[in-house]
Amino acid sequence: MLKYTVRRLIGIIPVLLGLLVLVSLLIEFIPGDPARVMLGQHVSEEALETLRERLGLNRPFIARFGIYLGNLFRGDWGNSIREGRPILTILAERIPATFELSFAAMIISSIVGIAVGILSAYRQYSLLDYTGMLIALIGISMPVFWLGLMMIYFFSLVVPILPFGGRLTTGVVLNDVTGFYILDAIITGNLTALGNVLRHLVMPAIALATIPMAIITRMTRSSMLEVLRQDYINTARAKGLSSRVVVMRHAFKNALMPIVTVVGLNFGVLLGGAILTETVFAWPGLGTWLLDSIYARDYPAVQGGVLFIGASFIFINLLVDLSYAWINPKVKYD
């Protein structure tokens, strides 16, 4: 297992390199002068030329990419052209917000999705099953953007029980220890802030959870149905085991692998920055920052952001693969 893990970790490097090359080339081919995009309409030609020189835009792509890679291997991810600050500093600010939101969304979608999926499979073709599938269909069809605005309208205005957006209400004091507000509130024993942070998290997490929840529900249902049809399940029932034991201890555990795969994939996608949710709920995460960077042609920021997201996705997939060995003892890695 250790050898397999090390091999996979080493394998990340060429994948990330390929990703970087691809993204850098794509940015290169986006039409438009980055200096012009950054400085706007009210600017002198001299200022444009100075910025082009400073960004190295007059140099060939290969030269620029080579310099970037050299710096990257030395741990220097460069500075954001727009903000003039180190990319790593910006990532450290943005990642906790996205991670907290994504993690909350994954917990909600996993718990609800798996529960509804199990129930739907157990009571196949019942009203419960049809309701579960209808919820899944609505979840996957409903635009997150629209759902988010409706939630804000209802729960912040009509029945004002939740804040409209952001991570923390202005004026609520919270010492920023890690950037993960829930963790920071717990570490500092600030229950007021903890409650406030959780209230801010509810709506965006639910909105973001709808699509993965729908996917997990359907995957759980189909995976459970496949397992429930197996002979050993009939044997377990024939032995007189209760339905709960049969479903949870025998069926669910054997149906878990595809579910874990889907949960892992979705988490990786969400970590990439839930741009729409972050925009609607004014959530200061990676997605909105990356979008702004693309619009502004902030090359180092886009490269740094994509590098992080790519690495996260690959790493999560590795964890998912490794979890198979834990779920199914028959799976061996060497």
Partner: protein, 529 residues
Amino acid sequence: MRTLKRSCVVFLAISLIFGMAAIAQQHGGTLIFARGGDSVRLDPADITDGESVKVCQNIFNTLYEFDLGTSTVHPALATGYEVSEDGLEWTFFLREGVMFHPWGDNPSYEMTADDVVFSFERQYDADHPYHIGDFAYWGYMYNYIAKAEAVDDYTVKFTLSRPSAPNILNLSCFTAMIVSKRAMEDMGVEEFRNNPVGTGPFKFGSWTRGSEIVLDAFDDYWNAPYPYLDSVVFRVIPEEQARLIALKSGDIDIMDSVTPDNAPLIEADANLTLLEAPGLNVGYVAMNQMIEPFDDILVRLAVNHAVDKKMLVDTFYKGRGEPAVNPMPSNLWGWNDEIVDYDYNPDLARAYLAAAGYPDGFDTELWYMPVFRDYFPQPKLIAQAIQAQLAEVGIRAELVTFEWGTYLEKTEAGEHPMAMLGWMGDNGDPDNFIYVLLDEDSATVGSAGNIAFYINHTLHDLNIAAQITADVDTRIALYKQAQVIIHGDAPWLTVATANRMVGVRSYVQDYDLNPVVKGRMEFVWRNDL
């Protein structure tokens, strides 16, 4: 009877006193100002985005500042100035006792000429140790300032390379804000961008990136009794509908950038007030005179008569604006109100085309912006409407667009036959419109601001004369003449000037919806305390 009279007088006096107290500005409170994006950096010399300008507006001051609601100026960090006969030396007398905000462990200190000189020198002197940044606006708006020097602690002299009447307005704009020399030397430019130190009504408090910037009232502000508020929070809410909901629910107090669609919703809410004023902007379609047939005045006149501007304003601006007559907005001093706009007259348009030798019309392209701005809130739809109206008179225009940076590049290079573009004024001076957008000096292929490539030597002479003389009445007369010439040559189809709109909770008082300055909270107060 006498007792009754006396009682009435006393009662009236007490009522008057309490009444006056009730309408007097109240100190205290916090206001949350919501905008669509975060600031980028807070070094006023090195910013170009509106969100950074709004925050800097409250942390820094300029030598002169814009009056409430207008583009005229009054003394601020300077108490007065003198201009030499030849217009090349401007001497400013600084206000004494102006304090910079404290920072870190460093106390407040008094602003002197050194700070003023530093603020300008670091922009124009490439060898200056604090010349770190792009300083995009310097070359565009201030490149006529050759030198700034301290005559004594409270006197600064600017030496210009050429006379510039708009100089006093330019020195009232954000690029000319005075920064703390000591603070910048202490922390360096990169850190200063995140921890700015100025003389303004509010000092920097904190910045949670992507979320909010908190500013706290500066107790030693030179312009007492301002500010009234204890603090201001600039909050980021990217989605406009979410901003509106937050305003309605009271989670924010001021909503920036209200679009025409949402304006009625604010007006209909008894708890809200819609502040509306003409913007300092103009949207237009430039007809490139380097490309036939737009070198023909008859064709340009045909285009002007073919388009119903009122319909465009009513439909796409929801009436929140006005059809543009001149190449500058009507709220700008010097606007010529005697010019009669070309009327919507398709028959006359066809007659002009026939006279020009195009009885069956012609084929061309209409370029439209890929991004929306105040002056063109829905550029593609507006382009489609113009296209349809042109088609009715025989001008068959294919719609074309490019990515924004490319669009600017190509229009500056003169590759377009007709192109939509617009302008938002920087300094409240007609020169910023007429010279920048229509003078022959601005018609250089590859970097043109004058994308109609319109050359008129008489207009040029008027523009230069208006730049040289400081006498306002003379300048007004010159610009009015200029507008007559431009109207006659019709280089553009001037489309519209859009109104600026901001939504506020009803207890927010005295928010300055200034045509030039945005987000200034110095005079704002709450009447619900």
